[in-house]
Subunit: 509 residues, 2 copies
């Protein structure tokens, strides 16, 4: 006999089903926008931009409307008051966070930010081309102000930089991130210093050579085969700025080729393969809700960095993969020499996207400190070039000769992305922690990498990371996967051991 309580219980699934169907629409529209974006970067003819901008903006508006719909607020309220299983609870938690952030920002502010970032791009490009920060200063000031306003709309009582950071990494916490970045700075600055003092010169079997695009493309396709990329659910194309995008049914990789730097194409391709592999490991049956979506930027970056660095820049990988390189590029060297070439440190490089595995993080720490201080009002926009160059000197011992090679080099701030940079380094830190846990569980992972066997690693990552989608908050996911909280220890140990060995600089400490 049905009681009133039964009837109430029975209502919950209905609400949840309605809610889920709505969330699925939101996902599908977002993924459609991703297809348009991929097409724009990879396939679209030059003059397609005006129409594509309108199409993408329309999908963005529809997504925003779906997310901030009054129905969503009502469903969330009702579902939060009911007894849900953990999966549904996770979906409600994720959508609540997205809904609140979107709903709290007034649409006129969204509009102003959208216009300001559109306007900022050509100004930034001109400033960079002219090597004149003055051209860009007012624009940067406006963007900082707008993003402060944005953070205040979301939560006026909290550190605005923390609020912005959560846009990209909602669950690790800014304090944790800041502590990890400080650890990196404190350990890597002296390590890089020792490397600069080292007498060791690493091998470079590619030096002086020129490698045609067709051979390089064959090489990176072979690398994707070798690592286990599923071509039935992906494809490889070229793009000016390599990226990966898609769903668990179709996750695509892009790369680019420089005739003199085949290792650049290889590592960039393996990086994007890592991203795509995460996406392809998400559960099919949850496609449409956060249970079928990846966790945020740090976790995504951990997957790309794990494959790029812990696999693709490892000694055992090169022991297995060297013949493939020689097949395609007709080079000749020992695995050790390829390994050295893949891990050469260039402290005199000023450009983040060209940085090696190690110095990269100093570029990030610098940007993090500057953008945090800008948002806090502790640093004036006019001081940015000076502070940038001072920090470059402090952290890497090199001073950019121009602002184009200094504070004007990145597009991120012009996109309004403040709080994004740290996730790059957090991803590396997490990659090391996850790789160490995988090694522990798998046993002879080095031997497998040497033999070109990646199944156990794929399985470990799928079981412990990919298959959970966004079910766990980031910190919980890390603890579930590795048995301990997020920590920079593994990365620092890895970096110290690998690079002090390569540069024979144990004694300098």
């Amino acid at each position: 006999m049905a009681t009133e309580a039964d009837a109430d219980d029975a209502e919950t699934p209905d609400t949840y089903e309605q809610f889920r169907a709505h969330v699925e629409q939101l996902t599908y529209v977002g993924d459609a926008a991703g297809v348009l974006q991929w097409d724009q970067e990879v396939m679209m003819p030059d003059e397609g931009t005006p129409a594509r901008s309108k199409q993408s903006a329309a999908l963005s508006t529809l997504s925003h409307d779906l997310l901030t719909d009054d129905d969503v607020a009502e469903w969330l309220d009702e579902l939060e008051g009911s007894d849900l299983d953990p999966e549904r609870e996770a979906v409600v938690r994720e959508i609540r966070r997205q809904h609140d952030r979107a709903a709290k920002v007034p649409s006129d502010l969204v509009q102003r930010i959208s216009e300001a970032t559109s306007n900022a791009l050509p100004v930034w490009k001109e400033a960079k081309a002219e090597d004149d920060f003055e051209i860009y200063a007012d624009t940067l000031e406006e963007l900082v102000q707008l993003k402060r306003e944005y953070a205040e709309a979301i939560d006026p009582d909290r550190d605005p930089y923390a609020v912005l950071f959560e846009e990209y990494e909602p669950y690790l916490g800014l304090d944790t991130a800041e502590a990890a970045l400080e650890d990196l700075r404190d350990t890597l600055v002296p390590l890089i210093d020792d490397i600069k003092d080292s007498d060791v010169t690493l091998a470079d079997p590619f030096a002086g050579g020129s490698y045609d695009e067709a051979s390089q493309e064959d090489l990176v396709r072979s690398a994707l085969d070798y690592l286990g990329y599923d071509w039935d659910r992906g494809r490889l194309d070229t793009a000016p700025h390599p990226f990966s995008t898609g769903t668990q049914f179709d996750a695509r990789v892009t790369t680019r080729f420089d005739p003199e730097d085949p290792l650049g194409a290889l590592s960039s391709t393996i990086h994007e393969f890592g991203h795509a592999t995460y996406t392809l490991g998400l559960p099919d049956e949850h496609y449409g809700t956060p249970l079928g979506e990846s966790r945020d930027l740090s976790v995504h970056e951990s997957q790309s960095r794990l494959w790029e660095n812990h696999v693709g820049r490892s000694r055992p990988f090169w022991e297995g993969f060297a013949p493939t390189v020689e097949d395609h590029l007709a080079t000749s060297a020992t695995p050790r020499e390829y390994y050295e070439a893949a891990n050469t440190v260039h402290p005199d490089n000023c450009i983040r996207v060209e940085a090696d595995e190690l110095t990269y993080h100093m570029h990030i720490v610098l940007r993090f400190e500057i953008e945090r201080d800008l948002i806090h009002g502790d640093l004036d926009v006019s001081e940015v070039p000076q502070v940038w160059n001072d920090k470059m000197e402090e952290y890497l011992g090199v001073r950019p000769e121009t602002d184009a090679e200094g504070c004007l080099q990145d597009i991120h701030w012009s996109h309004g992305s403040f709080g994004y940079f740290p996730t790059y380094s957090l991803g590396s830190v997490l990659a090391a922690q996850l790789f160490a846990a995988a090694e522990d569980d798998i046993g002879d992972l080095d031997g497998q990498l040497r033999d070109g066997e990646f199944d156990d690693l794929h399985e470990w990552l799928t079981d412990n990371v990919h298959s959970h989608g966004a079910r766990y908050e980031t910190d919980d996911l890390i603890e579930e996967a590795t048995g301990e909280p997020f920590t920079a220890d593994y990365f620092l140990e890895y970096a110290e051991s690998k690079y002090r060995d390569l540069y024979d600089c144990y004694s300098n400490n």
Copy 2:
């Protein structure tokens, strides 16, 4: 001083602006769906379908919701009661028609049709593979019933087939279409008969050769260059079923290659080029409303057929283009011989998509007569195979040996498309009428085609057809462009003269 009347007048632009912004969103979402469709046919990896179906369905739902929104009904009512300039009036007219059709069909019927067509596809494929119409009969019956219901929902007082036909060609009128198709049948059946009796065998410089895909691709790219395709606003790819899609900023062409039939790839590419050229000629400044969109299927098909047949199958074209073919395919023949190869009639062919310019129309007349009678209830589904084969015998003198080569060959009915087939022939008819008018206006068009000069023809088509978007109703557009109403006379004259000359069968009449 503002009076009340002034205030009322001032309200109209505001309403129109709101209405236009909404219509633009609708267009942008539709065009986004077009990008997804292109990607699915051309780029998507095999296993991407489940996610893509969801994404496309979500955009389709959003489009439907935008079109049937209550606001749209209110804006339309208000705007129809106000004094609009002719351009705005045209936008209101087009959206009124689309809105009414969409709003009148209950969403559960839309859903049932969507499910029935999804389910129909595998059944049709199986029936075709098994060559067993029985497998498909109930499915076809259901589709006929559903489309009758659909037509009745839109207008219960009119001929349901006319209502369905208007989905694809809203302004020519079924009577006009029917008269044209009867003219085609009455003139072409005896012409084809005479051709069959002719002793003439046309040249085939491609016979027995095999042409690799790379050479064929170079050839069709050269053809697109030759005809003036704007690569900055387009691209060429391969697809199993060639099509063209896009906007005035980005209109893409696809083709396919058969090693033994390079003329097939060439004519198919030129056909799609004609479609893309229409799209590229639409006015940029009206992108987003019907003023920046093409007229319906007959007009679109007229553009593809004009370039495919009146240009690409013409004697003067081959006089200019033969050397390009020889460059790429290493054939050797006179222009006349290439011209003959491009115009060979095959009355014994049973497959529509492989039909020549002439017999093609008998395939269409047959389908039109059968689908019209099915919708009217004058023909039972079980009778379709017999009637199909009888008509094939009557019109072309050939009887399909199997239903797979007969009434199971086309996908259209499984898509729920009844009333679509006639637009193929109406497009050819209109192509001839437009081409005759262009010849009249330009003067020595033959000489230009011989010299590979297409600027005047492009300009004439842009001025008289493309640039108007959907501003004029189809019949008015034709009258504006050609000075007379839609007529099959030009096509019939063209067909009679061209093919009686080729087959030397004037005397048989």
